[in-house]
């Protein structure tokens, strides 16, 4: 008995070590590159040398500020992401609510079709949109980008809203109707407020997806209209200097702010979901 429990304790200890090592590895792998990028962004050297740098400066931040190329990309990217997310959020929220009430044949197929851009590679979507737009005679970069970005943001909004609707009892809506509310009013004052966390989360996901997209945007930009990731990619292939490290730090700060904002507005737990046995 004693020998058995010793073996068991040893096995438990080995398991515990492996378990915690994997978690440590996960965190190290996620955090170390971020730290490296932050440190390198303050590197004073004019070339990419051995890590860590010995002298520090703000030269890469100055070089980023002075570069109108990035600035243009940022503005275009924000416009495209905002317009695409607005359109997708309105249409996607309505569609999610509509599909949750629908009982016609082909409902599943319609839902799968509307979600399909999630599964099709972005490069395929972008290339297809480029050929489609050129057949329609649309050569304006902004129009093409917005068309492509509605396509990729819509499924995120619809899927997240649909998931949040599952938890909302249809009986609330029915109760509002039986109390005399018009269907549109019951929808606007009962269902929509209850689904707002899902809608907000979907819109944020959609915005981030659009802002960060490369696969679709690479095909749809023109010489004067390009998004920030496309600008970064072009610069990275031209010369790999540390301006991009400075830019990375700005991205990291913006992401942290976004997460804090999302946590304050909706609560990260609500966004991720607590499940049946969640604590």
């Amino acid at each position: 008995m004693n020998g058995l429990s010793l073996t068991k304790r040893l096995a438990d200890a080995v398991f515990e070590t492996a378990y915690l090592s994997l978690i440590t590895l996960f965190i190290a792998f996620s955090v170390i590159p971020v730290i490296v990028a932050v440190v390198l962004s303050f590197d004073a050297r004019g070339f990419i040398g051995p890590f860590p740098p010995t002298q520090f400066s703000l030269r890469w931040y100055e070089s980023f500020m002075a570069d109108s190329y990035y600035h243009d990309g940022l503005v275009t990217g924000l416009i495209v992401a905002t317009v695409a997310t607005l359109v997708s959020t309105v249409a996607g929220t309505f569609a999610a609510i509509g599909l949750s009430r629908a009982d016609f044949r082909g409902r599943g197929a319609l839902q799968a079709a509307l979600l399909s851009p999630l599964v099709v590679p972005n490069v395929v979507l972008g290339f297809g949109m480029l050929i489609f737009a050129s057949r329609l005679g649309i050569i304006d970069g902004m129009t093409r980008l917005i068309m492509g970005h509605i396509l990729i943001t819509f499924p995120y909004v619809m899927r997240t809203t649909a998931a949040s609707l599952v938890g909302i009892k249809a009986s609330y809506y029915e109760a509002a109707l039986s109390l005399g509310a018009k269907p549109w009013k019951a929808l606007a004052q009962v269902t929509l407020p209850l689904a707002r966390t899902g809608i907000l989360a979907g819109a944020v996901f959609g915005f981030v997806t659009s802002f960060d997209d490369v696969g679709v945007s690479l095909f749809l930009t023109d010489a004067f209209t390009f998004t920030l990731p496309v600008a970064i990619l072009a610069q990275m292939r031209a010369n790999l200097d540390l301006t991009i490290a400075a830019l990375s730090v700005i991205f990291i700060v913006a992401t942290v702010l976004l997460i804090v904002l999302l946590d304050r507005l909706a609560g990260l737990d609500a966004v991720v979901g607590r499940g049946v046995y969640g604590r």
Binding site: I48, V87, S116, G128, L136, L151, L233, L262
Partner: protein, 285 residues
Amino acid sequence: MRRPGLTAALLWPALIIMAPLLLGPLLALGHESLKPFVGGRIGGNDAEALTFDNYAAIAAPEYVRYFLDTFRVGLISSAFALVLGFPMAHFIVRRAAPATRRLLIGGLVGTLFLSLIVRVYAIAMTFGPHGPLSGFSRLFGIASSSPDGAELMVVLGLMNTTLPLVALTLLGTLQNINPRLEEAAMSLGAPRWKTFFQVTVAMSLPGILSAGIIAYAFCISNLVVPMLVGRGFILFVSNLIYFRFSEVANFPSGAALSIVMMVVSVALFYGLLHLVRSQWQEAGK
């Protein structure tokens, strides 16, 4: 109390906006892929008869290689993501104190939100020739300058996306498994590892496979990671399609590749998900 009129009114905006955006590119790609290619001009030749030549060309070994690389590297990367992601999700759901839980979930969502280019750049700087972890590939007996070294970098780059995705997906799975079952197994004398594998992992298997399939779909459609760290040794089908557009302007061939890649991705994704679901429904779950 159902009102078909209202349901239809809710669906119309999405249909009006999405139908042309979904079908237009699809039809345009299908048509373009059947045109014969003439060098020196952008787009296929409209004057000649339609042909399947562009599809036949994809069956050549030099093209098939790109498909095989895509599916193989995607598989490796998704598998590693599951191995690392499951314990992390388990830790968050079962062990982490509320403050730690919130921090970890924030970190995961943040990693997912952080620009992919920024993350791949950070990976390249960390594991690259001057990076602090440049010796990492030697742990596996791989020279970082070799093709295998490039493949390792692509796997690492993809894992940066798949890890938070897998961990967040598995949070949902684990939160729906009753913790009492694990407690019961342990109070009956089962060692921790046995409880973990035979109760927790076994009960999460449908969720683990679904998370793996989602991660896989993300991997095989990637463009940026092979482009930035594959160094030409590892290129995915997405890169090939982009080259058809940017380097040689062979639109018909790029369109044929796009159609094939789209069919394969959609079939793989829905086929595998269907397989997982039907398997577990049959078992009486």
